[in-house]
């Protein structure tokens, strides 16, 4: 029987990614179907998918620069076409790097590379950094944040060495702000924007953690929502309501399998699919 993505979310599997299976599980956790599509399969298969996710990992071993080799792959032609037609696309971590290197994000000049995800700039250290962060939902409408309340704070973990959103084009930055494309910003537990490490864990300009395209269907986010999809993934000592909830659920396997904070990004896609715009 021929493979079909009708009604499914396609998880794009570039060589070297390592978060594809848990991303598919995160999609399934909200009742949507998901399946993997290898980068060298026929991209026409994507035409019936309800959306696409480029997961985290190290596509092409991060050779040359994280995400750039995948950005040149043939399959990105089809993603470009579908994104232009309004189909939702989410890039998580390495997937975000692919979307930035493809010029889909910020996408003000489609496919022009107007941003970079540069090496982290951190206090007294460099390289790879893993931590839980707090994200403030700002910006305007985006498919992937539909279920997140305005000004809501969502804890989600990061794990990257090149996650610093930056641009040397002041006009592009101005446009992004004007368009409300800075949809997720690193913040304190209370929702305050503080540019200092570790609140801003990588030195991103404007504390950017997630940037949407102008049309609101493509999102590049460095944090990993699929690693915060179940309550059991939340650390007990995480500050705020989610940590307390996790602590109270200790020993109760039923509660541990309930939703974690990152599931809301996948819930957003479901809400979009159901037409609750």
């Amino acid at each position: 029987m021929a493979r079909s993505f009708t009604g499914k979310v396609a998880i794009i599997q570039f060589p070297g990614v390592n978060c594809e299976y848990e991303t598919a599980d995160a999609v399934r956790s909200v009742g949507l179907e998901a399946d993997l599509l290898r980068w060298n399969e026929d991209p026409v298969l994507l035409e019936d998918a309800i959306g696409m996710i480029i997961p985290g990992g190290f596509s092409y071993q991060d050779r040359i620069r994280a995400g750039v080799v995948s950005a040149k792959d043939h399959i990105m032609d089809k993603l470009s076409e579908l994104a232009g037609a309004g189909r939702p696309i989410l890039g998580i971590c390495n997937g975000a790097q692919v979307l930035v290197e493809s010029g889909f994000i910020p996408g003000i000049h489609w496919e022009r590379v107007d941003l970079a995800l540069a090496p982290n700039v951190m206090e007294d250290r460099d390289g790879y950094y893993c931590s839980w962060t707090y994200l403030l939902r700002g910006g305007t409408d985006c498919v992937w944040t539909m279920a997140v309340g305005a000004e809501e704070v969502v804890p989600v973990p990061i794990a990257h060495a090149e996650g610093r959103f930056t641009t040397d084009d002041g006009e592009v930055l101005g446009e992004m702000k004007k368009n409300g494309q800075i949809i997720l910003q690193y913040c304190t537990q209370a929702g305050q924007i503080d540019p200092a490490f570790p609140i801003n864990p990588n030195g991103s300009i404007e504390n950017m953690a997630g940037v949407c395209n102008r049309e609101g269907n493509v999102l590049a986010m460095m944090p990993h929502p699929e690693r915060a999809t179940w309550l059991r993934q939340v650390p007990e000592d995480l500050g705020g309501g989610w940590g307390t909830k996790r602590k109270k659920a200790g020993g109760d396997s039923g509660k541990m399998e309930t939703a974690g904070p990152g599931r809301i990004f996948f819930e957003s896609l479901k809400r979009w699919k159901e037409g609750d715009a």
Binding site: I64, R112, V113, A118, D168
Partner: protein
């Protein structure tokens, strides 16, 4: 005495990053007719003070061989050249002026050395302090670090070669440029020479 010291380091074995660049440029980006070969080096351009070029070369050479942030003799080849006016000294097992990949096309071929570094200096200060903490008989007073891509292209002249290399290297859009992102990286040509393709 003020000197200039250039350190080039590359892998002894096949460089998979350079191979990936080759395949991406030729198979996905349409440069199969123009790109004739590619190599990648780690590169440090230093200014250093010492008694003379030979003394500076000897001092720096002793330390870079002991510190894997610069070279690891199990896996790297390197070339260190120190100059001061007409005076010069060299060390290492790599002959940088004759280090070219196997040429994979015909016509006039130019080798362009493209230095790519992080805007704002990146790790330059760290490298300088690291060396100065151990150097005796010399002091590093200036440091620029990054990668050099030695790119062999078929071109009519050096200007055309530089233009083609810039097209290959500087990422302006999804379909244009691979080797650096100008929003956080800088580049400069530090050498261009016509080579014998045979």
């Amino acid at each position: 005495m003020k000197t200039k010291a250039n350190l080039w380091v590359r892998l002894k074995v096949i460089d998979l990053v350079a191979q990936t660049a080759w395949m991406t440029l030729t198979e996905k980006m349409g440069f199969a007719g123009d790109l004739c070969g590619i190599l990648r080096y780690s590169y440090w351009a230093m200014e250093a003070e010492g008694e003379n070029a030979s003394a500076v070369c000897e001092a720096i050479d002793r330390e870079i061989r002991m510190d894997s942030a610069f070279t690891n003799q199990n896996k790297h080849l390197y070339s260190l050249a120190v100059t001061s006016g007409g005076d010069g000294a060299a060390a290492g097992d790599l002959s940088i002026d004759r280090d070219f990949p196997r040429v994979k096309c015909g016509g006039r071929i130019f080798a362009c050395d493209l230095f790519v570094s992080e805007q704002g200096g990146g790790k330059d200060e760290g490298y300088a302090s690291r060396l100065n903490a151990r150097l005796s008989g010399a002091k590093v007073t200036g440091m620029k670090s990054g990668e050099v891509w030695r790119i062999l292209v078929r071109a009519e002249d050096a200007e055309e070669a530089a233009r083609k290399v810039e097209e290959m290297a500087v990422t302006r859009s999804r379909k244009h440029g691979l080797l650096l992102n100008p929003h956080y990286q800088a580049f400069e040509f530090i050498g261009t020479a016509e080579i014998d393709g045979q």
